[in-house]
């Protein structure tokens, strides 16, 4: 576990100059398939077979798991085994997930495997921007690891302090001007619907500020592949990122 910690922001910097290494290109490509911003690019991959913890880095920018895990872009993932879909307290789910839960969908090894293999095929209308995990071995490993966490997050093997470090600390430290953010958001909302609806382009409303900025920094550093987003973020400085994050955080899914 210890040998695969995320890169720190400083370690990440040389990538800005040298461009993505092949492994990042591949990972960014996976992200591209997911349709963009909602899916975090994993920031490191062990040279040997990836463990579940590494696999979880795909999830970790949006989801927390372990002691004191909280809802972020997505709901916390403690106590998944046997949990009815769409029932974590104070998390605002898509209509599709709530409906599936109401219809009796419960998460367990089998349903999670199906879901994570191809989320949008299994649960049409989910807001989770993840294309899916094709490798059956990796998928089995991740699912087994996920459902190992009890409701209090203690039974699992990951401590909350071990969570992924987010990029963009200097922007996150600023208090963004939401009015400026609303103006710059004009560039975003030509594609990303302000209502939070998705029709082929991920929702970006209601994200926690740090996660939002992390995703922008990843695009700016070309750790995510979509060239539209790379171009949009190329001229965003800390002030602009903080402003955008502040503005989008005020919006609610409709």
């Amino acid at each position: 576990m210890e040998k695969v910690r995320a890169r720190s922001t400083d370690q990440m910097r040389p990538l800005e100059k040298t461009g993505p290494r092949p492994i990042h290109k591949f990972l960014s490509f996976l992200v591209f398939l997911a349709g963009g911003i909602g899916l975090p690019a994993p920031m490191v991959l062990a040279e040997d077979a990836a463990g579940a913890h590494d696999l979880f880095k795909k999830c970790a920018v949006c989801h927390e798991i372990g002691t004191n895990a909280r809802n972020k872009v997505g709901p916390h993932l403690n106590g998944l085994d046997g949990r009815t879909a769409g029932t974590v307290d104070r998390y605002k789910y898509s209509r599709a997930v709530k409906k599936a839960g109401g219809g009796g969908l419960r998460w367990n090894a089998e349903t999670l495997t199906e879901y994570l293999r191809k989320p949008r095929a299994f649960l049409k209308g989910t807001r989770m921007s993840f294309a899916g995990m094709k490798d059956p071995d990796q998928l089995a490993e991740l699912v087994a690891w996920l459902i190992g966490f009890s409701a209090d997050g203690k039974a699992g093997s990951m401590a909350n302090s071990d969570k992924t470090e987010l990029l963009g600390a200097s922007a996150s430290a600023l208090e963004g001007d939401p009015e400026y953010g609303e103006y710059i958001a004009g560039e975003c909302v030509t594609c990303h619907q302000i209502s939070g609806k998705e029709d082929g382009i991920p929702s970006i409303t209601g994200w926690p500020k740090e996660n939002f900025i992390h995703a922008l920094v990843e695009y700016k550093n070309k750790l995510r592949a979509n060239p539209v987003m790379q171009t949009v973020t190329s001229r965003l400085g800390d002030e602009e990122m903080a402003a955008l994050a502040a503005y989008f955080a005020t919006l609610k899914h409709k």
Partner: protein
């Protein structure tokens, strides 16, 4: 407009900024903004000014059509990927949610001195600021033999509407093994990749219904947008179906004859079973009437989209000379937000931020084979200038192309929501 107004306002404070508001003494009515043209530029401008001024500005939108069919994605209708109804949009939400006064009428003249617009119905409307987003008019005589009357037989279908439907039925009714001839327009024109996406979509239809048919492209230009991507796609999906001829090959278009369906060039005369001829273009006529054009298009101040020569008039989209920005719905939508921000600043003293523009043009070559080109832009002192840009690569993975197409569908939903609410 030479000042950076954001810094000006923050340095002097809002109290001083209100002094800059023109003719808004106590007791006067709300400032009036009139927008002419309800497309990507006009609808967006009306919506943003009304929404963001929160009732402080009275916004009127003048648009002849009750239902607006987008020109972007009309190619997908031609290719059978969309039904026609799916690219139609109404103005009800603009009126109901944002209080825009939507007037379905034609603007026939503008008295810029009196700040007054004449309408076809005989009524007139006055404005404090006017936003012109009239799109394009055709220069029919730019193609010898072509005319407004020729449109029925050789539709340009470059403004969406019934001509696009006509064109699709003409393609579908071609004789077996027949020839479709496309004459794209010379630069500059609306939607640079559009003619080539259209060729792709028509090839897609013919491949299914009339696979021995041919497509000949008689292009007045030696090169075109996303050329390598389109030509690679044509070879992969429609081998031997499409023949593209640049001017150095055909030697010039001498005449088109809608009666005989012949397209005459120096090289040879092509006999078409169906044809689309897209002539050269110019700003919509109301921009000419407003006196803001120089030649065929309207020059603008890059920081605000104000017409050069009349600070009370803003020109958006295809009609403007936006330099590095292509004439596209995305560009118009982007320019509208810059203008809306500037207009609100002038009329209500709200903060004005530096202009930032962006554009992406997606094109579909075949099922699940989407490509894109895009850039973002800033305001130089004289022109809108590119900041950063990208284009899809040849030889991309199928999954990338499919994701690009799906992204374009998401964009369509996004921009039409951004335009119409």
């Amino acid at each position: 407009m030479k000042l950076n107004r954001r810094h000006f306002l923050s340095a002097t404070g809002a109290g001083v900024a209100t002094l800059a508001m023109p003719s808004l003494g106590l007791g006067q009515a709300k400032p009036k903004v009139v927008v002419i043209g309800g497309g990507a530029g006009g609808a967006t401008a009306a919506r943003y000014i009304a929404k963001d001024s929160k009732g402080k500005i009275a916004v009127t939108l003048i648009e002849a059509s009750k239902r607006y069919y987008t020109c972007f994605f009309s190619n997908l209708y031609l290719g059978g990927f969309r039904d026609y109804a799916s690219i139609g949009h109404g103005y009800d939400t603009l009126a109901a949610d944002h209080g825009v006064n939507v007037v379905h009428d034609w603007a026939t003249g503008i008295d810029a001195g009196a700040k007054k617009i004449m309408l076809a119905s005989g009524a007139s409307v006055s404005y404090d600021r006017l936003v012109l987003s009239p799109g394009i008019d055709m220069k029919y005589d730019s193609v010898p033999g072509y005319s407004a009357e020729a449109q029925g037989r050789m539709p340009h279908a470059w403004k969406s509407g019934t001509q696009v439907q006509q064109l699709r039925s003409q393609v579908e009714n071609m004789r077996e093994g027949g020839t479709f001839v496309m004459v794209p327009p010379p630069n500059p024109f609306r939607c640079p990749p559009g003619p080539y996406e259209r060729i792709s979509m028509i090839a897609h239809i013919l491949k299914q219904k009339n696979p021995s048919a041919k497509i000949i492209v008689v292009d007045p230009k030696p090169k075109f947008s996303k050329q390598a991507l389109f030509q690679e796609g044509w070879e992969a999906h429609y081998p031997d179906m499409i023949e593209w001829l640049g001017p150095d090959i055909h030697g010039g278009i001498k005449n088109v004859n809608p009666d005989t369906m012949e397209i005459e060039t120096d090289l040879e005369t092509f006999k078409a079973d169906a044809a689309s001829v897209v002539p050269a273009q110019k700003a919509g006529s109301i921009a000419m009437a407003a006196g803001v054009t120089d030649g065929d298009w309207a020059p603008i101040v890059p920081a605000s989209m104000q017409a050069k020569g009349d600070p009370n008039i803003y020109v958006l989209g295809d009609a403007s000379i936006a330099a590095a920005m292509p004439k596209s719905g995305f560009s118009a939508n982007s320019q509208a937000k810059v203008a809306a921000n500037a207009i609100r600043g002038e009329l209500t003293g709200s903060k004005v931020f530096p202009a930032r523009f962006s554009n992406t043009c997606w094109s579909l070559i075949a099922t699940d084979d989407g490509v894109k080109v895009g850039a973002n832009y800033g305001a130089g002192s004289e022109k809108i200038e590119v900041v950063d840009k990208f284009i899809s690569k040849t030889g991309e993975d199928e999954a990338v192309r499919k994701a690009t197409y799906e992204e374009s569908e998401g964009w369509y939903k996004g921009i039409t929501t951004d335009m119409f609410g």
